[in-house]
Symmetry: C2
Subunit: 158 residues, 2 copies
DNA sequence: TACGGACTTCGAGCGCACTCCAGGCAAGCG
DNA sequence: CGCTTGCCTGGAGTGCGCTCGAAGTCCGTA
């Protein structure tokens, strides 16, 4: 139980899982801090959005150079990878901020985080099921239109 | 080729496919027109939203009672079923309006409609793939949190 | 005939997730 | 030294998809 809050954050950021998801380590040469524009290019978000994410508490605290410029770490990139994934599931930004708060609060929020992730997973599963239904409808309609217009297909296949 | 524009719209609305998707025929007694609040209750949209859909051209023209009140048909319900499905794939309303316009323009837009549906299907497939990736990440993280907190699981399973 | 409730139109307002702008600072270069 | 480039901040603006309100009409029941 010598785990500090920082360690807890480490665990939550999960270097390994995110490493397999979003490529960190933009600079292979041991350099592990990046400017905002490098990060923007790497993760597909605008610099504006990255600053905004920090302002609303979605970034777990980015450190600065001696002149006040943001210096993102590999861990930040990993976190952004997770955020990007969750975003495109339709998860509201407010919910992700909530998760980020739990991470900042430390190790005692593990159960809450676990519960939040489980709920999110259920959401994702539901969405996948919905999309599959929609896919079935689209397939049906596409077949119908194809069947209605065979003249275009009259170029014989051999 | 005696198909009129109305017939083309029929084809586009596809009674059969939508019948299998969204239950039409709220009133089984041969009555096939519904007030706005009946439709709202049936499809989960608000009456406001239904009027707004009509205003922006997303509804294929709803007919009215002698006093000017909307009278939705089973075909309208079927169309709304499709719209609902497409909406929750993230398809922008503007794109669905485009599709509705193609339907109104008649039979000669069959190829365009076909193409639009095919493109949409690709979109849906991509989204499903994304969601599956996200699911994998969530599974991984959930397992991690579960492994980190075995004390809670110590209630032996037998 | 009076009343409550559901409907009509048009237009304004809202919440979300960015997106952009103005004004300013710091570093690098010819 | 001046110029350019990249970053900083705070706050205003944008686009989308609804959502609501006001003011009026119509319908059914007592």
């Amino acid at each position: 139980m010598t785990v500090t809050e920082t360690d807890a954050a480490d665990v939550a950021a999960e270097p390994d899982v995110c490493a397999s998801v979003e490529a960190p380590r933009i600079r292979p040469g041991g350099q592990t801090h990046y400017t905002i524009s490098e990060v923007a290019a790497a993760c597909g978000l605008s610099a504006h959005t990255l600053r905004w994410y920090e302002r609303i508490g979605l970034m777990p605290h980015v450190d600065r150079s001696h002149t006040g410029q943001r210096r993102f770490t590999d861990r930040d990139l990993e976190w952004l990878g997770l955020v990007a994934k969750l975003r495109l599931t339709g998860m509201p930004v407010a919910d992700m901020v909530r998760y980020a708060e739990l991470v900042r609060e430390g190790e005692h929020t593990f159960p809450d985080r676990h519960a939040l992730l489980v709920a999110t997973r259920e959401d994702v599963r539901r969405r996948i099921a919905e999309l599959r239904e929609t896919l079935a409808v689209l397939d049906y309609k596409i077949d119908m239109y194809a069947a209605l217009r065979p003249p275009e297909n009259t170029e014989r296949t051999a």
